[in-house]
Amino acid sequence: MQVKNVKLTKDQFYKTRKQVLESWSTGKSLSLDESFRYLNSLPEHKYFSKVLDNAKRNNKLLLQPRGGVATLRGQKTLLEGFIKAGADLMPVTIDSYTRQNEYLKSEKGLSESLTTKKSVLNGFPAVNHGLKGCRELNNSITKPLQARHGSPDGRLLAEIIHASGWTSNEGGGISYNIPYSKNVSLEKSIYDWQYCDRLVGIYEEMGISLNREPFGPLTGTLVPPSISNAIAIIEGLLAAEQGVKNLSLGYGSVGHIVQDIAAMISLRTLATDIFKKYGYTINLSTVYHQWMGNFPREESAAYSVINLGSLTAVLSAANKMILKTPHEAEGIPTLEANMDGIRTSEHMVKMISSQIGSIKIDVTDELQIINEETNLIIDKVLDTGDGDLVQGTIKSFANGVLDIPFAPSIYNQGSVIPIRDHLGAVRILEFGNLPFNSHIKNLHREKINKRVKMENRKANHDMIVSDIFSISNGSFFKRKSHEVMKC
C-alpha cells in the first residue's frame, strides 16, 4: 500500500475503524451516532472552534496550560485549578505509555496511582479511562477540552476523546512521529493520522465542528522557523484533505523576539495563501508556544522565560498561547506551579495587550527570509512527491529535504544543524539537503560568521551545545560585550 494525500473513502475508514475500536476494551462500545448526539448536546462554550472564533473577533489571546495526571479525580482538580487561575482552554496531556499504545502498562500505572494516591504516570491515560471517564471529566469542566499527547498512532485515543466531547485533538503524522518516536515509519504515522483527521472530517459532515492542531514546536530545540512552519502547513494541508475545517497552526518560540514575530506572521499569511491556492476552506487560528527547549532550573529565571514568551505572543497576534510553568526544568509541575504559570502569563498578556497599539517593531527582513525559505521547502516537497504531498513528505524526510534538528527518529536524517547568529537569531550551520538557494545559504553563513568573529570562537559542536542551553543560561553568548542600542 502506498499512502497518498487523498481523502479516505468511507469504506476504508469504517473498515479500519473496526480494528481500531477492537484494539482495547474501551473502544468496543463506541458509536458515531451516539457520539454525535452527545456532541450535539454540548453548549457552544465547550467548542474549541467557537471559543477560538470569539477570541479572534475580540483580538484576545487565549491561554492554555499543559497538564495531565493519572486519575480522573486528579485531572478534575487540575483543570478546575487551571480555570481558577485564568486559563481559557483545557489540556489533557496523555501519558507516554498510552501514546505508544501500551495500554496494559498505562493500566498498571493507573491502578498503582489509584492505590498510592500519587500519579506514577506522566499523563492522563484516556484510553483506559474510556468513554465513561472521559465524558465524566468533560461534563465536570466548563471550558473546552483538548487531548495533547505525541502518539504516532493515536486513532483509538482520537475516537474516545471526540466521542467524549473533547472538541480538539493535537498532533499529526509528522509532528507526533519524528520528534516523539525512534522506529515508527512516516508511512504508518501519516496514514494513522489521516484516520484521525478523517474522523474529524466525518464529524464535520455531521455538522459537528472539531478543532485540529498539528504540534508546531517539533523537538522544541533551535528548530529554524521555516522548517517548523513548512511542516505545520504541510500537516494542515494533509488534515484539510481529510475534511478538517477548523485548524490551529502552532509555532514554538526560538526565544528571539523579532524572529518569533516574523515566524508567526509568516505562518499565518503563508498558510492562508496556500490553503486557498489548493482550494481548501479553512478556519485558521495560530498558536504560540512559550519556549519549548531546555528551561532554567531557577524558578525566578523560569519566570523570565515565560514572560518573554507572553510578550512575544501578544506582539505576534497569536490566537492562543501554550504555557510553561516555573517547574518546567524539574518535572511535571504541581497544580500550584501551573497556576503560577497561568497567572504570570495572563498578567503580562494583559499589560502588553493594553499598549499593543503603540508598539511598532520592524520585522520585515526576518519575515522575508522565513517566507522565502518556507516556500522553497514546501514547493520542493510537492515536487519530490510528483504533486502528492504524502509521498513528497515521506521521500523528503528520506532524502533530507525535510529534516528536524535533534529528532530521535531513524526516518529523520539529522543533517541539519542549527546555530545562533551574532544577534541571537537561529540560523543554519549545516544545511544537509534543505532545498535552499545560494542566496539564502550565504545569508545564513554571513550571519554565523559575524558571531564567530564577535565571540572569537569556532562554530562547532561546542557552540551548538551552548546554544541548546542559551535560554536556560540567559546569555546566548560566551564573551559578548553586549551590543546595546545606541541612541
Partner: protein, 159 residues
C-alpha cells in the same frame, strides 16, 4: 583522557527526549570513551543485549520523562540474570515525576542497583569523571579482556 572504557548508553522506556542523549554521547566521546549509543526508547533488553555484545564496562541510562522508576524495575537483576555481573550501572536525568527531594530519588535508584545516580543539573564533566574513575577502579580489581572497536555506534544508525 584516552581510554578504552566502553559504555552502552540509551534513553529507557518510551522516553523520546533525544537532545540530552546527543549531548551526552558527544561528551563521553570527547572524554575518550568507546560509546555505543542506542538512542531513545530502549528497553532493558536492548541495553543488556548491547552491553553483552560489546562487553561494556558500564550501561549509562537516561530517563527524562518521569517513568524512570517504572521502566527500571528489576534492571540490575536482569543484568545479572544475563551474565552481566561486572557491568556498572548509571542513571541520570529527571528521575521522578514532578519536583522531588533529591535524596529520596537517589536512595531509591541506588537501592535498585545503580552505582551512581545523577540529576539533570549535575555537572557533566564531574559526572563523566566519576564514571571514568569507577571503571578504572573496577578494572584494576577485576581485570578483563577489552573490546577493540572504537565508538561502534557510528556504524549504527542512531538519531
Amino acid at each position: 583522557m584516552n581510554t578504552d572504557n566502553t559504555i552502552v548508553m540509551g534513553v529507557i522506556g518510551q522516553d523520546c527526549h533525544s537532545v540530552g542523549n546527543k549531548v551526552l554521547h558527544f561528551a563521553f566521546k570527547e572524554k575518550g570513551f568507546v560509546v555505543h549509543n542506542l538512542g531513545v526508547q530502549c528497553s532493558q533488553e536492548d541495553l543488556i543485549k548491547a552491553a553483552k555484545e560489546v562487553n561494556a564496562d558500564a550501561i549509562v541510562v537516561s530517563s527524562l520523562y518521569g517513568h524512570a522508576e517504572l521502566d527500571c524495575r528489576g534492571f540490575s537483576t536482569n543484568c545479572i540474570k544475563n551474565g552481566l555481573n561486572n557491568v556498572l550501572l548509571y542513571i541520570g536525568g529527571n528521575l521522578s515525576i514532578g519536583k522531588s527531594e533529591w535524596e529520596v530519588i537517589e536512595r531509591k535508584f541506588l537501592k535498585m542497583g545503580f552505582n551512581r545516580v545523577f540529576s539533570a543539573s549535575d555537572d557533566l564533566e564531574w559526572a563523566i569523571d566519576s564514571i571514568y574513575n569507577d571503571i578504572s577502579l573496577r578494572k584494576f580489581k577485576h581485570p578483563v579482556s577489552v573490546t577493540e572497536n572504537k565508538d561502534a555506534s557510528q556504524k549504527r544508525k542512531v538519531n
